[in-house]
Symmetry: C2
Subunit: 591 residues, 2 copies
């Protein structure tokens, strides 16, 4: 069975040596002293290794069951959920006014990676609750906040997000669920929602559903969608639970993975709901949480890769098969361990250099979100809006690929469920789909974010890279990082220029290259992260760091990314430059 | 539930317009008249669409069960197997002396694609039998052939291949199963074999296991391995079944996919076996079938992609979501079909251009195998030995990617098992692993095949491309195919040169680039196939073909491959040229 150990040292390196959080002017970051974050991450790591990781396979094998209308979670989930709550983990970055600990989102993100890597399906119950908490916290009335948030921060009540219907996912304007106004100001919600993660279960007293629906008579399409709070059990004064609301589980979906999470069809049969935010502004309310939600999914992508990678390394060191062609490494054994073989190394280096780069990118993204929320920084807001589809789309694609590569290290055993490597790949697969399928991320990036505010956010991104190169080109050791970064950044700019020049003639010239652009952007961003990490590592070595090997390993891993991954940018640019014609050439009937 | 229709028109195009089989001098190809192959493929297509495809999901959902030592296959498998046998499909390309129909391997390959695409797990029962048939046919004594082959050709008895043990897969020299000689010339086989596909089941009277084992006292390692025939039930005169042999099923493995096939742990407890071929030459006996077996897995890779692609196209035409940015295409509907969107097209074109290129490559490979077996052509033998790891490794990697991409077209529904798209991805996943994991294919290609016979086979491949370019460069329409093909071929040659120059200094310089080389080779080969297909399509259009749209679609699909896929070759070359250093830099402890 797979194991998991939190990569706290690597996280500390990013927080304190790359992002230098305590030197930041973001309010609250002064609390993130190295000793403190280390203690938090170590404690999270214990819960992850000892409790959550061992339940990962249990959740996969047992799945959730619907019994007489009640969803039963897998053996051990309820007890683990109690431990998560008792440790105060669910409210780590929540508002102290409602019982949260008020920590920065960045720290919540680091802890989130640890829990997600150990058991993604389990962590979704708290993760969805956090999303619903954010929506109510941002858009709720004082009374709504007082009514729902304290119990949601503690996860005594959990939350869900209800968007998709059988006939519409991406195109929510087609939605049919309706919300009829009642005399008392509430609404009667009627319709069917599908793919509702954590839709119902036996680990909390109540479930607070956030439901998108249309108020009859409102604008057509997406502009007529409103957001509603629909509790499973009605909530009275002092948060006392009342009668059951008219919402029920239609069925639990059989999925490729994340079996431990109950993905429900939810039926609303005139259920009582309360408007959250303004009428017909439901999508706007959803969008304010979208950066966080999508960053969270981008995190899931590389977190599954991290967990899979850790186990692939163990197996590659244990499994004896073949001999090192340059000379036997294990003369007393019947064969050498897999890790002597160059192609196994290639695969492990692909995985490692991706995961560490993605972690840095995600943490940087989380720090931008803190900057938005805690400093009201509008530049950071524009930048993270631009980067979000890249974090989500690129990292989940590559995270899945890395999990598949880790599974491959096991040979035939990787295909047998007992070894647990298949689960990482199957669980990671959903991250490419939910919270906006990756093609939609690419569309969001190229069709919306790239040109937003006159393109100033992508210019800001290029400027960051340009400044970094300029600041560091005096250090000869940095040349092998700055050269490839410059080349990648140039390819990315050329692609953006192509879209501007050719997209005017035909928007499909931009959209046909959107997916490649997302990947070109992702590689450039991770190249930037690796250059920053290399700089920090060189600085540590110059400062006589005691653990020189850690920093040398960091530099070597970054060097691998620059030489072996960044050549992809030229390929993506070439594809982009071929425009819409080859992509759109066929009649639909000729596919 | 997914559907499947055999792509007979595309197959006919490759057989008759690209490979021009009836004009070939290979004995037996004169029988492959277009009307005949068309009738065979249509008939296979009916069985596939009506019987096998509907059972694909059944096999996945039910899986195989071990009941009191007997393996039960999923509902409907036995009846379908009887239909397969009754149609004479199992012996299509087998020796008429033993009841086969003596058709070329190429035709067997085309029919094989149809069955594999419809139901891969089901087809493995006959597929493994065919492999065991080939081994006995090539290495068996006359008596062994007379005893086993007639019933195996008809699939009254099925076959298996027993190589892997718990501690060894790739490195079979570590094998522990032993074969003790008996006075009567037989052997007692004792040991445990794992991952035995079709190891046992309820669809045949007998199972003929081919088992690798070591005769005590023989040479150490791989040179002391012999091959044995071990029947489940002893076979007497006139093929009468006798008592049960001492071989039993330990368990059925729970796998990620191909649930309809029984993957067994087989226990041999002093089972009676008969030497097949020479003592200690078991690996050589296996190797003679390896090209066919690996080509068969390379076929599985793109066949799963074909089946997944067909369903993605249907969904993309049916599902209404969003509007075409260049103008509404379905004004009477609530939204346009998915297929209007450029990124959906990109994905479908990726799938389509890969599948059709891989089909041509595989059929060409099958024709080379016919040339070896029917004409004793040693050049063809060298060439197919070189191409085999590319067909297996590249096509299964890309086939899996394509199945995942097809699943992605379904959005959230792709993740729900009910829709069947997950199964294509899960089933395709095994093709990257079995019959030699893809890293081993890359090692075989670069470490063995590339330099074989002084490198003359790879030179022959380059010469084929060079001649083709020379012959066709007078046709201006071919320029957009020949240019990219030339560039890809140049990259491939540069990579081979790098290996020669740098591999001498350190073999790891070659091995660290082996995986990229396999992909670089695969893209070049598919580019070559597309250039050949384009030539044939232009010729058909010049000849006034009635179905001009078919040929125009073919040319447009090829153009897509050249412009959007071949840019990958430069990336692979850049990675290869970075050599072993970045790949091997870390100590094993620092991963």
């Amino acid at each position: 069975m797979p194991s998991y150990v939190a990569p706290t040292k690597d996280m500390q390196f990013i927080l304190h040596e790359v992002l230098e959080v305590t030197a930041s002017d973001v309010p609250g970051y002064d609390e993130l002293e190295a000793d403190f974050t280390s203690a938090v991450l170590e404690e999270a790591g214990k819960l992850a290794s000892d409790v959550l990781a061992p339940l990962n396979a249990v959740g996969d094998t047992e799945g959730c069951r619907l019994e007489n209308g009640v969803v039963r979670t897998p053996t051990g989930f309820k007890e683990a959920f109690e431990q998560l709550k008792a440790g105060g983990w669910t409210g780590l970055d929540c508002d102290p006014e409602y019982g949260g600990q008020g920590m920065p989102y960045l720290l919540g993100t680091a802890v989130g990676e640890v829990f997600v890597a150990a058991n993604m399906a389990f962590n979704m119950y708290a993760g969805l609750t956090h999303g619903a908490y954010s929506a109510i916290h941002t858009h709720g009335t004082d009374q709504q906040k007082a009514t729902y948030l304290p119990k949601m921060v503690s996860c005594d009540w959990t939350g869900t997000m209800n968007l998709t219907e059988p006939h519409c996912g991406t195109d929510l304007g087609l939605m049919r669920t309706k919300a009829e106004p009642q005399d008392d100001g509430s609404f009667k919600i009627t319709g069917q929602k599908i793919f509702i993660s954590a839709g119902d279960h036996d680990m909390s007293e109540n479930v607070i559903h956030l439901v998108l629906a249309k108020i009859p008579g409102g604008p057509a399409g997406i502009k007529g969608v409103s957001l509603f709070i629909v509790p499973k059990f009605m909530v009275g004064e002092d948060q006392k639970l009342g009668e059951r609301n008219a919402v029920s589980v239609g069925k639990i979906e059989e999925k490729m993975g994340i079996h431990g999470n109950s993905t429900c069809v939810m039926n609303y049969d005139g259920a009582t709901g309360y408007l959250l935010g303004e009428e017909h502004k439901g999508m706007r309310a959803m969008f304010t949480m979208m950066n966080e939600a999508r960053l969270g999914v981008g995190l899931q992508g590389y977190a599954q890769a991290e967990a899979a990678y850790q186990n692939a390394v163990i197996y590659a060191n244990d499994r004896l098969q073949g001999r090192d062609v340059t000379g036997t490494k294990n003369p007393d054994g019947p064969a050498d361990p897999l890790i002597v073989h160059p192609d196994i190394r290639r695969s492990l280096m692909d995985q490692k250099s991706f995961v560490e780069g993605a972690r840095a990118f995600t943490f940087w993204g989380a720090s931008l979100i803190d900057r938005v929320h805690r400093s009201g920084d509008t530049q950071a807001d524009g930048l993270i809006s631009l980067l979000t589809p890249v974090i989500k789309g690129f990292q989940t694609d590559k995270g899945f690929d890395a999990a598949v590569a880790a599974q491959q290290v096991y040979g035939g055993h990787g295909y047998i469920e007992e070894w647990g490597m298949s689960q990482f790949a199957r669980d990671a697969r959903i991250t490419m789909i939910y919270e906006g399928a990756n093609g939609v991320q690419a569309l969001d990036l190229v069709g919306r974010k790239l040109a937003q505010d006159g393109g100033k956010h992508v210019m800001a991104f290029f400027d960051l890279i340009k400044s970094f190169i300029k600041e560091n080109e005096g250090d000869a050791r940095m040349a092998e990082f700055l050269g490839p970064l410059k080349a990648a950044s140039k390819d990315l700019q050329a692609a953006a220029m192509y879209f501007m020049a050719q997209g005017v003639k035909n928007p499909n010239n931009a959209l046909a290259g959107s997916y490649d652009f997302m990947h070109l952007f992702g590689h450039t961003a991770l190249g930037f992260m690796w250059a920053r990490m290399a700089k920090a590592a060189f600085a540590a070595l110059d400062g006589g760091a005691s653990d020189a090997e850690f920093y040398e390993t960091k530099i070597a891993t970054g060097r691998y990314y620059m030489t072996r991954q960044l050549p992809a940018t030229a390929m993506h640019l070439a594809r982009i430059n071929s425009g819409a014609e080859p992509v759109m050439a066929l009649k639909a009937a000729n596919f």
